[in-house]
Amino acid sequence: MKRTLRYLLLVAVLLLCIGPFLWQLSTSLKGVGEDIYSNPPRLFPAEPTVTNYTRVADVVPVWRFAFNSLLVAVANVLLNCVGAAMAGYALARLRFRGRRAALGAFVLSLLVPGEAIMISLFLMMRSLSLDDTLVAVVLPGAVAALNVLLMRNAFARQSRAVEEAALIDGATTWQRFSRIAVPSAGGTLAVVAILSFMFSWDDFLWPLIVLRNPENYTLTIGLNYLQGTFASDQRLVAAGTIIAVAPLLALFICLQRYFFRGAGEGAVKG
């Protein structure tokens, strides 16, 4: 009896959480001839069709947007993994004058909200002639302070014994880092990669500020543009949002373990 109640509650929350996504999917599959405003609403398309997905590509270069988003996300993942692992290793393992100051710089930047510096960042990108480029979208988040601290903690948890043995055998710092430390921090590195991909794929405000030419739009900005221009046809907007959300959902379903770990660690450290 108690268990039945629990399942009933679970199903109710389930409908609340994924219902809106399914309604969007359903809208995107309804043909031009079908009334999407019908009352009572039709939950399922009468004749499911994918024409909205080709039509949306006719009105805005949605695949171009997706490609830009992918480019930005992949660059963000690579730069964050390499940059955060290197900095994290130095902070956790190497002894040098100025280490506290370096750590302080990363912690301090955690306290500066991106929204409070976006105007100044935009000015900077303009003076570097990088405004309205994808490089400008990537740069400010290329090595996130949070990721550096996550990697630092992962390296600090590792045993020193293997690295010390390698040191006696004459391994250089880079060899100890790349052959011993990094391979055993794979889990945290995966979390960093996932967080970076998600952050970059979903980012909206900064690309909105720095990008002007629709050629350079990422998916989030492109969707905003689509909504502004073709709001009258909800089928197209629905198809666009499905295109934007599908890759991340697929990634999430395959790698949920790391998403959950990211939420736990990101919250505690952030």
Binding site: R6, L10, V13, L14, L16, C17, I18, P20, W23, T27, Y37, N39, P40, P41, L79, G83, M86, A87, A90, R93, L94, A105, F106, S109, V112, P113, E115, A116, I117, M118, I119, S120, L121, M124, P140, A142, V143, G170, T173, D202, D203, F204, I209, L219, T220, L223, Q227, G228, Q234, G240, A244, V245, L249, F252, Q256, F260, A263, G264, V268, G270
Partner: protein
Amino acid sequence: MTARASRRTVRWHGRATPWLFLLPGLVVVVGFSLYPFVNTLILAFTDARVLGGGTFTGGENFTRMVDDPQFWTALRNSSLYVIGVVPPLVLLPLLLALLVQRQIPGIAFFRTAFYTPVVASMVVVGLIWTWMLDSRGLVNSVLEQLGLVTEPVPFLTDEWLLLISAMLVTVWKGLGYYMIVYLAALANVSRDLHEAAEMDGAGAFRRFVSVTVPAVRSTMVLVAALSAVAAFRVFSEVYILSGTSGGPGGADTTLVMLIRQVGIGLSGELGYSSALSLVLFILTLGLLLATMRLNRAEDTE
């Protein structure tokens, strides 16, 4: 390093090595976070514009702010957002975590499904709810079918309903994230305590208040801090749900929306926008310190 040299001093690394490792990270953090912050600090006391300007004007931007009704509207909306969003985001995910905590068949599926809104971007979520809450959208159709309303509810066109709708979207998207945060904390709550309380005849509500809440209190403070800071910086939800307008006559403009609106474009007032950014930074930091102090005060009790 030759064999002889390494025997004399087993050195971990050369002098420059740590800095080479730190270089990419420091360049990004100093160049694209700390430097722009200092620059914002300086610009806030000038009359810099996109076209010209840039002389030191002291506190003029701040006196202007005091007389700027737009600033007060934005501050009000961002503050209301914190007040409206933090209590449900502290409480509901905890209840949700308790609901999915027990290992019963299919629970992994439910946890995954509840996390889905977290993964989607706020733009996608905003557009989905724009369509759901449309005057002819699903929510209004259902309400009409149930006979609860005769006229469509103006969720997205009324000043206050729009703000409340945006808050609901924020809560909806945040539920799964904080649920996971709470699940990690609940894993450390001893089951014995629960069972002992149950034996003593404590009902579910009583056990929640006197066993669960004290055990996850520091996590609740953490969630309050995280969600408060995020709520004060709200942009995308309100921007998308209002169709980029900031509500009727801009009545729902938030502080971040105002910073962008003032600073961007050919007539962008960089000085004033930077002063607003500084206010945002100080209030965000204040919120963070206040919630942390709350935690410490309770610890010493």
